[in-house]
């Protein structure tokens, strides 16, 4: 199976994530789209790891680290969203112009 198939899939997933980040208003949905992008990265890493199997498994290890980073990102991100929701009763990223307020 050609490596480029997997890479194109990852690219597709990544751009869907990009679309989500740009087109969504709800902050949690933006976070979900970021997860899509992180997963695209993971797919890439795993694919390269499978390709370069003779050099050990750094790709997979990095994927694990990315999962950990995603966990931290979601944790803090959602906490921010909750705080914003508490103060403003909505979570539209469009309305987030606290500095101008």
């Amino acid at each position: 199976m050609p490596l480029s198939y997997v890479l194109v899939l990852a690219a597709l997933l990544f751009s869907i994530g990009v679309y989500g980040v740009l087109a969504r208003q709800h902050a949690v949905l933006v976070l979900l789209s970021i997860e899509l992008m992180l997963n695209a990265v993971n797919i890439n890493l795993i694919a390269f790891s499978a390709w370069l199997q003779d050099t050990g498994v750094p790709g997979q290890v990095f994927a694990l680290f990315i999962i950990a980073v995603a966990a931290a990102e979601v944790g803090v991100g959602l906490a921010l969203v909750i705080l914003i929701y508490r103060n403003r009763r909505n979570v539209d990223v469009e309305g987030l112009s606290l500095m101008k307020w």
């Binding site: 199976m1 087109a23 709800h26 993971n42 795993i46 966990a71 803090v76 508490r86 103060n87 009763r89």
Partner: protein
């Protein structure tokens, strides 16, 4: 024979991933979007298994599906999901966003296809990467990032606790904000 199997399955999973990822970014209901994300994540886990990374695949299921999505669902139930079943969550730059996304996809896909033309993934491996391989790699070569992960998680927890902790001042301010908002709506 093996290669054909692998390729066919790859296309099945790729379709699942793509369709559900599109579901994530277009769903009209936030919970549905999160559930589409579950499908995407499980599809990605299947791809990992196809790429001989079974440990990462199950780690993905354990952490992403079992924990991060649950956290997301809790987060959603803490915010907008309860109030309306369906809502308009897209902003008015949908068209622009689609163009940007398509451009990103076009450029990266072209670059990737161009640079990795003719590279074939191995399909004849007898065994996958074992948990032993992963463990040895982490605990001999990647010790520092591993320890940093714990610091990162600690920082994330501290940050989240500071931000999301129940605080009386916040609550009363919330009420004020709600009143202000209501007044603003009435003005309009």
């Amino acid at each position: 024979m093996e290669a054909a199997w692998q390729e066919g399955l790859f296309f099945v999973f790729a379709t699942v991933i793509t369709v559900s990822a599109i579901g994530v970014v277009t769903a009209r209901n936030v919970i549905h979007a999160a559930l589409f994300l579950v499908a995407t994540l499980i599809g990605a886990a299947c791809i990992y298994i196809l790429m001989f990374a079974e440990f990462v695949a199950w780690a993905q299921v354990l952490v992403y599906v079992g924990a991060i999505v649950v956290l997301m669902l809790f987060g959603l139930m803490l915010t907008r999901a309860p109030i309306g079943k369906y809502g308009e969550y897209d902003n008015d730059q949908k068209g622009l966003a689609a163009i940007v996304a398509a451009a990103v996809f076009g450029v990266t896909a072209w670059v990737l296809i161009d640079s990795f033309e003719g590279v074939e993934l191995p399909t004849d491996r007898v065994a996958a990467t074992t948990s032993k391989d992963v463990g040895e790699a982490i605990f001999s070569s990647y010790v520092l990032p591993f320890e940093l992960v714990s610091v990162l998680l600690l920082a994330a927890l501290v940050g989240a606790v500071v931000i999301a902790r129940r605080d009386e001042r916040v609550t009363s301010r919330t009420i004020d904000a709600a009143r202000r908002e209501k007044a603003r709506e009435e003005d309009v």
